[in-house]
């Protein structure tokens, strides 16, 4: 933006507060990535989101009060960024099926891969609100109060989202509900193509139709 590339050497020493802040950011990167991955599914999109969050956080560092929960503060920024990116690029599928599909095929050296994949795929069926609440509380270790602050909603709302998310995941994982192949109908064709491809691949070779827009009638 500015022409300070040439004068990089003359960087003044960072203030103590700034370098503390930066060290804290560095430490929290893994958590930002994990939360971002839970929100977007797709690892690349998630890392972009986490990086945007770092930049935003750095720019806004003056508004962070030291001693308060930096992780929650960062997660709030990340979440806001996620939703504003989503509004801008709506053609993206809300949840990337790719991630869920990639896991089972990835070698199978881990016995839990299949279970994990089921859980991840089941996560994809939840609404964004339920998924983020469940991840924050159930995996991220946030209190309901912190999760409510991050999601900008009432504590009771978080509680009920978590409860509903848990229930529907359990229903799905226990087979009471079936796991739909394409939980969100995206605007673009990419995900439909992936699903169609999967349908093709799961059929015996002889039956493979050259073009199957095989919507199995799970009607829109």
């Amino acid at each position: 933006m500015t022409d300070d590339n040439a004068t990089r050497e003359k960087k003044p020493p960072a203030s103590e507060a700034d370098s503390t802040f930066k060290a804290d950011l560095l430490e929290l990167i893994p958590f930002l990535r994990a939360f971002a991955r839970s929100l977007c599914g797709n690892p690349e999109t998630a890392d972009d989101l986490a990086q945007e969050t770092l930049v935003k956080a750095w720019q806004a560092r003056a508004s962070f009060s030291p001693g308060t929960n930096l992780k929650a503060w960062l997660f709030t920024i990340l979440r806001n960024q996620f939703y504003s990116d989503r509004r801008r690029a709506w053609r993206q599928a809300p949840w990337d099926e790719e991630q869920a599909e990639r896991i089972p095929g990835s070698g199978g050296e881990q016995g839990w891969a299949a279970d994990l994949s089921d859980t991840v795929r089941a996560l994809a069926t939840l609404s964004d609100e339920q998924r983020e609440a469940l991840i924050l509380v159930g995996a991220g270790g946030f209190s309901y109060e912190d999760a409510a602050r991050i999601c900008n909603c009432a504590v009771g709302t978080v509680k009920s989202r978590v409860a509903r998310a848990r229930k529907s995941l359990l229903d799905i994982l226990e087979g009471t509900e079936s796991l739909p192949p394409a939980p969100h109908k995206p605007e673009g064709d990419a995900a439909n193509e992936i699903m169609a491809e999967l349908d093709r691949l799961s059929q015996p070779a002889a039956d493979r139709a050259p073009s199957s827009r095989g919507d199995k009638g799970t009607g829109r």
Partner: protein, 60 residues
């Protein structure tokens, strides 16, 4: 089956809790598996650049 919350006996309450715990473990494992990934270099570069940007003096 749909009504088993109405009078869950002790057995099924325990079963439900067990399944919720299993689900919780699964979620944490998924989340932790990302947390434990090494931080990609992009992120470290970004933090370095962010620092250099300080002398641009265009913070707002």
């Amino acid at each position: 089956m749909a009504k088993d919350e109405d009078k869950p006996d002790r057995e099924s309450r325990r079963a439900i809790r067990a399944r919720q715990r299993a689900l919780g473990r699964e979620l944490r494992r998924h989340y932790d598996s990302v947390v434990e990934e090494p931080v990609p270099n992009d992120f470290l570069d970004l933090l370095r650049k962010i620092d250099h940007r300080r002398n641009g003096g265009e913070d707002s």
